[in-house]
Amino acid sequence: MQAHPMPEFGSFTLLLALALSLYTLVVGSIALWRSRGQLAVNIDGVTGRLGETARRAGIGSFAALSCAAFALVWAAFTNDYSVSYILHHTNRDLNTAYKFSALWSGQEGSLLLWAWLLSAYGFVLRIRHKVDVRLSAFASTIVAGIQVFFTLLLCFAAPPFAIEPGPVAQDGFGLNPLLQYPEMVIHPPLLYLGYVGFSVPFAFALGALMMRYPGEKWIHITRRWTMVTWMFLTCGIFLGAHWAYSVLGWGGYWGWDPVENASLMPWLTGTAFLHSVMMQEKRGMMKNWNVWLIFSTFLLTILGTLLTRSGLVSSVHAFAESNIGVWFYTFIVIAFAVCLFTFFKNRDHLKSENTLESVVSREASFMFNNLILLAACFTVLWGTLFPVLSEYVQGTKVTMGAPFYNRVELPIGIFLLFLTGVGPLLAWRSTTLRTIRRNFVLPGIAMAAALVVLVSVGLRPWTAGDDWQSQTFSLVTFTLAAGVITAIAAEFLRGAAVVATQTGKNLLASAVLLVRRNTRRYGGYIVHFGIVVMFIGIAGGAFNQNTEQEVGFGDSMTLGQYKLVCRSYSQDSNANYDTEFALLDVYKNGKKIDQLNPEKRFYHASQTSSTMVALRSTLASDLYIIYEGKNPDTDRPIIKVFLNPLMNWIWIGVLTVVLGTALALVPKMTRQAKTARAEAPAIEGAVQHV
């Protein structure tokens, strides 16, 4: 019998991780049960020591899962094709970086990544337990419960170290060519960091409710977790969109595929939570709502994972159908039941301290923001699951493609853009007529001016024929964007002017000081600005153009201001793939500005082909060229060209959102803030004794 030391080591570490997670869950629960009624844990007592062993076991589970992940990556790097997963997802000639990404390219590996990231988050949570020992103990136990589910899956339903029967193959079947792209090395981990990360605020929220945590300190503790997680999810989603744009070669970046939808839903509810939780933090409102928002966000991440893996909905991104769907259904039901039971048992603890005083207030704008975000989330969920419902009701499956989502989601998006601008201009509790006049005059003028300019330069939906809907969307978006950007700029200027008066510094230095004094608030404004820039980029899609042509040597094709001349076309080969490509000279206004080579690759190991898009990207537009293949009759390449206006604005918007979030995560950078922090323990101590 052949020995497989590394796979066996991997399987052993998975079993060890399961045992340690189970220990953390069971013993942690016992320790918490025995110390019920206490607000703080006495770590010197028997119960405290028991809880401490649970915490350490949780830390140990991270070490065990790290070893398992290492064992799988090691098997990929050493071409260990005795492991079924490695055989099916790598091959000898695969680039080193892509061998590493084999960890998340299949069902079993990606589940291992889920479990490992969860244990990593759990590790940080358990290391930082002194921030609030008892609340952290609750959160640690809940995270351990989620970990048990994933390690059970890895040990019994989708083992990544399963041994391939028969003699060991000489080479593997290779990695899916679509995944052999630099972004694919970072997109899945970032997306998973976002997905998995929501388990932590969920665990804190559930734990705080279970222990009837006094005050809102748990929100302060989880705020950074939620924001970091949200930032990762944002990066993950848009890296995926950029990958789809650059690799799939259909000219777009978002296809409303069920798997894309699965990542968008928790992002929408997570965004709603980030806003709504401010109402609880500041005014003690919306406690029930916030608890359910974070519960829903967590459940949606699990539902998304289920959608990708169960075969419930058909998707080009989905992993092969498997029997693990039952496991996920069971887990979702159990998790939902625990949330529901805890909520009903402790709902009297969630009474609001204040109520809404005016419809024209920051609180009301948050409520409407939540309403819009949840309506968007519901529409996405509805569109994703309607084919299943249709099959059940009328026996035929239907497609819910881009035409459905574009028609329903675009008006919602416009309303959200409107609130992005209006919300921050309203005061807490109630906004006076004077404030409204002061804050809204400039944005109103900017919107009117933008509308006049846009119509005068030719953006007239009423003359656009069949394109009137998309052009109306663009006109409204550009107009609103002008208003929102002006509103944000006015907020910065107003604040900077006050600081300038106080300090005597110039306006720029004052603006910097203003941001340093309140990173959270102005980071939030920058995030809003990024969202507006993204909307501008999305609205540019109304003016996309494309053309397709067969080209020979010296042939040319024209699209917009660009003229493409085919210089040559050829083919090449290396150990991993064969390639066909065309060399195109790009002319603009009669002047040569670039040379691009779109190509098509055929990967030997997986016997599949992949497009390599040639892209010339500017702020104004993207020239996007696809090598579609050769006409078998003439042996000449067929080239498809897209001209996509304002595409770069989407990616710049995302970068701005990420920068704004990072800034909002930074503590205040002034002496005043440090003084406040020095006072903080006294305040926290007071909270402990409420």
Binding site: R283, V316, E357, V398
Partner: protein, 159 residues
């Protein structure tokens, strides 16, 4: 009165005919082909819109695009084209459910939910505001402890 009503009806009918004529005269066949082609899916299971399917050697897209050209030329309105494709390839070929009947549920539900949620939020706000009115009087009377009030002001003006 009856004559005036009849005259009015004639004018409306004439207006409709004129409008239809303008619309039909202005209809660009390639734009219509492009529009319908973006509301159909490729049948090769790639999950892509018919006119966006970019598979080399796709067994279906070229044939379907040819069929679409024929159908657009043969039919003056879009519905028979969609019906023809749905009859041949099944409802899954339509990029959105547009056959009427239960398909309408797909469109109505999100709007209905949004409408109900908006009404619900409005009602909630109304209830809160009503409940809030007497509390304001109590606050004004100074029954709130000064320290608590100070803490509340600090919290609410923090950022």
């Amino acid at each position: 009165m009856k004559v005036r009503y009849s005259m009015f009806r004639r004018w409306v009918q004439a207006g409709c005919v004129a409008l239809l004529a303008v619309v039909m005269l202005g209809a660009d066949p390639s734009a219509r082909f492009n529009k319908i082609g973006h509301q159909l899916m490729c049948a090769c299971s790639c999950g892509q819109i018919l006119l966006e399917c970019n598979h080399v050697g796709c067994p279906d897209s070229d044939r379907m695009i040819g069929e679409l050209r024929t159908q657009v030329n043969d039919n003056s309105s879009d519905t028979p084209v969609f019906n023809w494709f749905a009859a041949k390839y099944g409802a899954i070929v339509l990029a959105a459910p547009i056959r009427g009947g239960f398909d309408n549920v797909a469109w109505i539900t999100p709007m209905a939910v949004f409408f109900m949620a908006t009404v619900g939020t409005g009602l909630l706000v109304r209830v809160w505001r009503k409940r809030n009115a007497p509390q304001a009087v109590v606050s004004a009377a100074g029954s709130i402890d000064a320290d608590a009030l100070r803490e509340r002001i600090r919290r609410e003006t923090k950022y």
